[in-house]
């Protein structure tokens, strides 16, 4: 059995972060927002504050743990929205072709031409700032790659005999797309979904860093980095730990995505042969 480093390492990292987020209320030492004691401001990492404290005296360790909840929620939910939109548009475009395909391709090209952060900003400007609008904004932004991929995968499956057989047996187009096409294109979509989650985490961090995502005092990793801008030389731990958290999460997701690609692709070929 080949040891798939990518897959296992990625899975371990990702699961660790997920657990940290889920168990944050129990693992954290303090309340991430309320427990602010200016007396403890900018304490270096030590026995009491594992990761040190920030300018307001809040425990960075607890804030990083709670931040995991926000970042993962954003990562997972937005990618889910992206996937649903992308697969729906791409698969239907590939399956039906014709004018619908032209419309979807036009839309996709448009989306790819607009910088995603700018688009997300525009959406958020319309909706009131907050977690929900961030989710909607990011969810509406990054579906183009999934759409392209779904369309291409659907085109390659479209002319297989079993699709035509399903049509001849009387199944509706919707049934065929959901039961015959989708399971056979799921592999690459799962891979791109996993990689997309990493991108979503980074996007959230960027937006929050710019002050446009999760607003302080809520502990988003991105806003923690933003707060620590002035203290990089005086109190580096304030930015190191949130930065490290982002790094580990995105790295884990990327490795997981790579690892999944390795097992899903050749297995598909083996199953088809």
């Amino acid at each position: 059995m080949k040891i798939r480093v990518n897959l296992w390492l990625g899975a371990v990292l990702f699961v660790t972060v997920v657990l940290a987020g889920i168990l944050a209320p129990w693992l954290a030492h303090t309340d991430p927002v309320m427990d602010a004691n200016l007396m403890n401001a900018e304490t270096p990492p030590g026995a009491e504050f594992w990761f040190g404290t920030d300018a307001q005296g809040r425990d960075i360790y607890s804030r990083v743990l709670h931040g995991a909840r926000i970042s993962l929620t954003v990562g997972i939910v937005t990618q889910l929205i992206n996937t649903v939109i992308g697969v729906a548009l791409g698969m239907s475009a590939g399956y039906w072709g014709g004018w619908w395909d032209d419309v979807v391709s036009g839309l996709t090209n448009m989306m790819l031409a607009i910088p995603s952060l700018v688009f997300a900003l525009a959406v958020m400007a319309i909706l009131t700032p907050g977690l929900t609008s961030l989710l909607i904004a990011l969810g509406l932004t990054n579906w183009s790659h999934t759409c392209r991929l779904s369309r291409a995968a659907t085109l390659s499956v479209r002319n297989q005999g079993y699709i035509r057989a399903a049509q001849v047996l009387g199944f509706s187009d919707l049934h065929i797309m959901m039961r015959e096409v989708l399971p056979n294109i799921a592999g690459p979509i799962i891979v791109i979904g996993t990689l997309g989650m990493g991108g979503a985490v980074l996007a959230e961090a960027s937006l929050s860093f710019l002050g446009l995502g999760i607003r302080p005092p809520y502990p988003s990793w991105g806003s923690m980095l933003s707060d620590a801008r002035d203290q990089i030389t005086t109190a580096p731990w304030v930015s190191i730990f949130p930065g490290l958290a982002i790094f580990i999460t995105v790295l884990g997701l990327n490795l997981l995505g790579d690892g999944l690609r390795d097992i899903l692709d050749p297995q598909d070929r083996a199953r088809r042969s």
């Binding site: 297989q160 005999g161 079993y162 035509r164 057989a165 399903a166 049509q167 001849v168 047996l169 009387g170 199944f171 509706s172 039961r179 015959e180 399971p183 056979n184 598909d268 083996a270 199953r271 088809r272 042969s273």
Partner: protein, 326 residues
């Protein structure tokens, strides 16, 4: 005058044409017409196997697609048991006509077990009781020479020949009236073909099926067919009993096809036909076959195209010179 029901054909294709507009200009003008199927008349009797023969580009696949509802005809009718099925929805058509595909490796969904694959169409068409489903599936597997245990497996666990059996099972599980066989053995290893050919013949007899068999392999067509129709350039050029068509072909194309088969005993018969099928977007004047025909004369290059005429009972040929060529 009433025609006795038993003598009316099961399937009757009348004047069927399937034309495609190619390369239409900006506003839909200036395009050319690809006449993939051009005025085809065909009949299939109950319990008969009609062999549909022709080379690539002759339109036989498009014709089959139209019968299956996968292509929309431009003109003509397809009557099954007297009813025109061209406008029929998928569900109605599914119980009337089914198809066995050429490639057993791409015609089965790799993610479905055999059971799932056979159960789904039954459920869709109203068979829902578990025991009835089990019975129908087990019965079908037995019919095609597989065992009930095979139902749990996935397609990749089967060989090419077994996969083709599964394709056949799927095609007949709804008990259709007509089964189109699209090159059913061409993609199989030579030593397996006999198994599938024997199975198809057996099923036709046991289950009273009617076949339209598309094939470029004349040996298989001769073995399996009761009647044969030869297609060239979108039209039927000869049709008749298998014995008449193979032992006394009248159309020069049919003769050329038969001659072209490599004969292991090296007896050669008539004239070889040369060249290749003309571009379908630029049909020749007069008879479409004349550029390649070794025996054409001035009638064949005129404006008129030959009609499909019956030259003897149950044997029709589309050729101006049919009666002259022995």
């Amino acid at each position: 005058m009433t025609v006795p029901a038993s003598s009316s054909p099961l399937l009757s294709v009348e004047g069927l044409s399937i034309h495609f507009e190619i390369g239409s200009g900006l506003f839909g003008k200036g395009g050319r017409t690809l006449r993939a199927v051009d005025g085809v008349d065909l009949t299939l009797a109950r319990g008969e196997c009609l062999g549909l023969v022709g080379e690539s580009g002759c339109g036989k696949t498009t014709l089959a697609s139209a019968i299956m509802g996968l292509a929309t005809p431009t003109a003509g009718r397809i009557l099954l048991d007297g009813e025109d099925i061209i406008g029929h929805g998928r569900m109605a058509r599914a119980r009337l006509a089914q198809i066995v595909f050429q490639d057993p490796y791409s015609s089965l969904n790799p993610r479905l077990t055999v059971r799932a694959m056979l159960e789904a169409p039954l459920r869709l068409h109203g068979v829902t009781g578990k025991s009835e489903l089990d019975d129908r599936i087990a019965e079908m597997l037995r019919h095609v020479g597989l065992r009930p245990e095979h139902a749990q497996r996935f397609p990749h666990e089967f060989s090419g020949g077994q996969r083709q059996r599964l394709g056949i099972a799927r095609a007949i599980i709804l008990r259709p009236k007509v089964v189109v066989l699209d090159e059913p053995v061409s993609a199989l290893d030579v030593s397996i073909r006999a198994q599938i050919i024997n199975l198809l013949i057996e099923l036709k007899e046991t289950l009273a099926l009617s076949y339209i068999m598309i094939s470029h392999d004349l040996g298989v067509v001769e073995h399996m067919s009761d009647r044969v129709a030869v297609m060239y350039f979108g039209r039927i050029v000869e049709t008749g009993d298998w014995e008449r068509v193979f032992s006394a072909p009248r159309h020069p194309y049919t003769r050329g096809l038969i001659d072209a088969i490599p004969d292991p005993f090296r007896t050669r018969r008539g004239e070889r036909i040369t060249g290749e099928m003309p571009n379908p977007l630029a049909p020749p004047k007069g008879c479409a076959f004349h550029p390649r025909c070794p025996v054409h004369d001035e009638r064949c290059v005129g404006a008129a195209q030959p009609e499909l005429d019956e030259i003897e009972p149950a044997h029709a040929v589309r050729c101006f010179r049919a009666t002259e060529l022995a």
